[in-house]
Point group: C2
Chain length 103, copies 2
């Protein structure tokens, strides 16, 4: 089972505008909160969202390209993990600040 990591920006390629814009959307913020609750990673289909599969894939792509999360394959599934370390290194406190917001 050769897991493969989907293309994503390196830590030095992450731009704060892209991160903020990615996080400033309700559906994507829901995804990020779900990932934060599951440090081991989440299969994107498991997150309950009020959108279709294609829209979900769209949002995951935006989050991945912004550098917010990392995705690797696991059979037919794709596991997404929050890039906590990278975001904390670039913008210390940002993620915890956002996650501390009462829903």
């Amino acid at each position: 089972m050769a897991t493969k990591v989907l293309p994503q920006p390196g830590r030095d390629e992450i731009r704060v505008e892209a991160v903020l814009q990615a996080l400033g959307e309700p559906v994507r913020l829901t995804i990020v909160r779900a990932l934060a609750d599951n440090p081991a990673g989440v299969c994107c289909g498991e997150i309950e969202l009020p959108v279709t599969a294609s829209t979900r894939a769209h949002h995951l792509k935006i989050l991945r390209e912004a550098g917010v999360l990392s995705t690797h394959t696991d059979g037919t599934r794709r596991i997404s993990i929050l890039r906590r370390e990278d975001l904390e290194a670039l913008y210390p406190g940002l993620l915890t600040g956002i996650l501390s917001a009462k829903q």
Copy 2:
């Protein structure tokens, strides 16, 4: 000289999606950075921006309505101040995280 504070959301009315969406725009992020450098407040006309005055007013309104900044009048001028305390109380670390990003 009766200075007047323009309408803005109370601390409990601030929503994290609105804040992130407001910050996820290059022009508005420039404004926030300028305000962060001037804790005493900045007259919006003083910030150098690549847009016209009407667009500038539009962005300031969005930032104000999101709860990111506070504006009060001073004669014909309007002084804007970053709502550091409120944001820090709601989302501890968020602002410093964003501002620590190398431009």
